[in-house]
């Protein structure tokens, strides 16, 4: 049952109790009114008797004083009859006091009759003696009526008092009990709900518990509150996600900015150092020539040559790194063996070519499609690293294996060599710019693997470096979708 219905029931009961009380009061006051009217009636009867006596004593034929008194006297029973309603009729009939109303009616009839008699006397139809006899007779009858009227009214009032008071007490008692029960019931269901909410159960079972144990407005309240809370949690979650996103973006921007600053610093540093060295070496050469030390001069000139070569490599590297950013090559089918053959001829020393340094295996069902320029640069950099950093101390002949396979929706390009590898503690620097791991053996630009990484990112792929039992493995995963989407 709804709380509002319970409260409504309490209100209705109270209204009923008040109505019954008011009705009882009205009915009892009605009894008092009847008594009052009856005493008024007596007063007029006394007056009537006096007027009759006066009439008798005088010789006057004027009956107007008599008529007035009779009309006044008739007024009380009329009022009584008018005051009685259906409820009074019902009650009076039940307790056999209804003859009070009959007495009133008879009184009115008697008054009317005596008025008619007066009219007959005025018309000269009856004699003065008969009139006076009839007047005396009527005065007696009126007196009698009044006396008879008193008892049933007193009985009725007594009855009402007798019945109404216990009835009212009973209703009040019931009302008090019922209101106590209802308020206990309402506070009980509120307490029950609070208990359910306090017991820190999991959300799902709590919702079920509320569903089965709570009803009416409390259930609606909880449901609305739950929806509201869920909405707010959702909003705050969305806000949190947005904040995280902004933070991430800011972080990646900051990182990009730092990388750019680092790049500018390293690039200018690496460009400057061969130039300054060469400048000093040139100065040495001049000194040597002046002092006739031509051998040392030639030696220094060689060093300058080496520096210039290094500088050239660096500039080429920076160029291809920036190119990797902008070049948007078209996708075409690539024959891996062909491009590896080309790289072999272009990069390797003659003895490496002869020894079959590069081995290539392809195991794919469909054609290998990708951006050729990027694939060539990736392989060029990885293969020339393998060539530069051969480990001649190892028993096995130096080799590098290139394997192309298909894994679900991607191509997998694996380049494995048995070279020097990269010191384990510096694996995380592998793809950074200007990092050199074997400066004693070869002074590359330090950009090769950064270029590889950049191309792989542009192809939406991933590159991973691991040390293997043999040496070093680079695994490049290139998704096929990238090309399907565009073509």
């Amino acid at each position: 049952m709804k709380i509002s219905s319970k409260l409504m029931l309490i209100v209705m009961l109270t209204v009923f109790e008040i109505s019954i009380t008011l009705l009882a009061v009205v009915e009892i006051s009605k009894g008092a009114k009847f008594h009052q009217l009856n005493s008024l009636h007596f007063k007029y009867i006394v007056q009537y008797s006096d007027v009759i006596a006066e009439f008798e004593a005088s010789a006057s034929k004027d009956v107007s004083a008599l008529q007035n008194v009779i009309i006044n006297m008739r007024q009380q029973p009329i009022e009584c009859v008018e005051t009685v309603n259906w409820l009074n009729v019902f009650v009076m009939k039940q307790i056999n006091t209804f003859h009070a109303v009959d007495i009133c009616r008879k009184d009115i009839d008697d008054a009317n009759n005596i008025l008619l008699t007066l009219a007959s006397y005025e018309a000269g139809e009856i004699s003065r003696e008969i009139l006076i006899a009839q007047l005396r007779q009527s005065a007696r009858v009126f007196n009698q009526n009044s006396a008879l009227f008193e008892k049933p009214i007193t009985d009725t009032v007594a009855f009402i008092m007798r019945v109404a008071i216990p009835f009212l007490v009973a209703i009040s008692l019931f009302n008090i009990l019922f209101i106590s029960y209802m308020s206990k019931n309402i506070s009980g269901s509120i307490r029950n709900t609070i208990r359910l909410l306090k017991n820190g159960k999991r959300e799902k079972s709590l919702i079920d518990d509320i569903d089965s144990n709570v009803s009416g407005e409390l259930k609606t309240l909880l449901n609305v509150a739950q929806e509201r809370l869920a909405h707010e949690i959702l909003v705050s979650e969305i806000n949190q996600k947005l904040e995280t996103l902004v933070e991430q973006r800011t972080q990646s921007l900051t990182r990009a900015n730092e990388e750019l600053a680092q790049f500018a610093y390293r690039a200018s540093h690496d460009l400057k150092s061969p130039l300054t060295s060469s400048k000093l070496l040139t100065q040495f050469i001049i000194e040597d020539i002046e002092s006739g030390n031509l051998k040392s001069a030639a030696n220094d000139a060689n060093k300058i040559y080496g520096q210039m070569e290094k500088l050239e490599k660096l500039v080429v590297g920076i160029l291809s790194l920036t190119e990797a950013d902008v070049t948007d090559e078209k996708v075409e089918s690539i024959h891996l063996e062909t491009i590896i053959d080309e790289i072999r001829l272009r990069l390797l020393e003659p003895q490496s070519i002869a020894s079959g340094f590069i081995r290539c295996t392809t195991d794919i069902k469909s054609e290998f499609k990708s951006e050729k320029v990027r694939i060539v640069q990736i392989l060029e950099n990885l293969l020339s690293n393998s060539d530069k950093y051969k480990d001649n101390a190892k028993k096995e002949t130096p080799f590098v294996n290139v394997t192309l396979t298909e894994v679900q929706d991607s191509y997998q390009l694996v380049v494995e060599d048995n070279g020097l590898g990269i010191p384990a503690n510096r694996h995380d620097e592998v793809f950074h710019m200007f990092k050199r791991f074997h400066p004693a053996i070869s002074s590359g630009s330090g950009l090769g693997l950064a270029i590889v990484k950049k191309h792989v990112s542009f192809l939406k792929g991933q590159i991973d470096m691991k040390s293997s039992a043999l040496g070093t493995v680079f695994t490049i995963t290139l998704p096929k979708e990238k090309f399907n989407e565009e073509h």
Binding site: Y265, H269, S273, T276, S277, L280, F284, K303, R436
Partner: protein
Amino acid sequence: MKNINVLIVDDSELDRYILRRQLTALGVQNIEEKDDGSSALAYLKDYDSNYQLFPGKFPPIIIFLDINMPKVNGFDFLDEFAKIRKQFDFGSCVVAMYSSSERSEDKERALKYEFVSRYLVKGEITELCLDETIQAIIKSN
């Protein structure tokens, strides 16, 4: 000037060559080269045998130290050298940084060590300023 012992720690062979030549031009003769912080530290820690092995040329008075080196870089070297300085007799040995880095944070960081007296930038060193550096170091000793 001739009997000053100098140690050059730099991974670049060319930079070592250039510095050696500049020092030689100033008359410095006892020059030892190491290509990494680790080999330099090993050289310094092996105090007694090196003292006997290179009579009059060990220990060095001036160490020219590069920062950017692959295994043990210049700052790693400085940290380690600060520890062994008291242990062995390097109280009169000073370090002059010899780096191509012009970053002020590198310079500040290096000059915080009490035994680092100079910060020289590669390519900007003339024989004149090198001479001044050496004279100042000798005078302070």
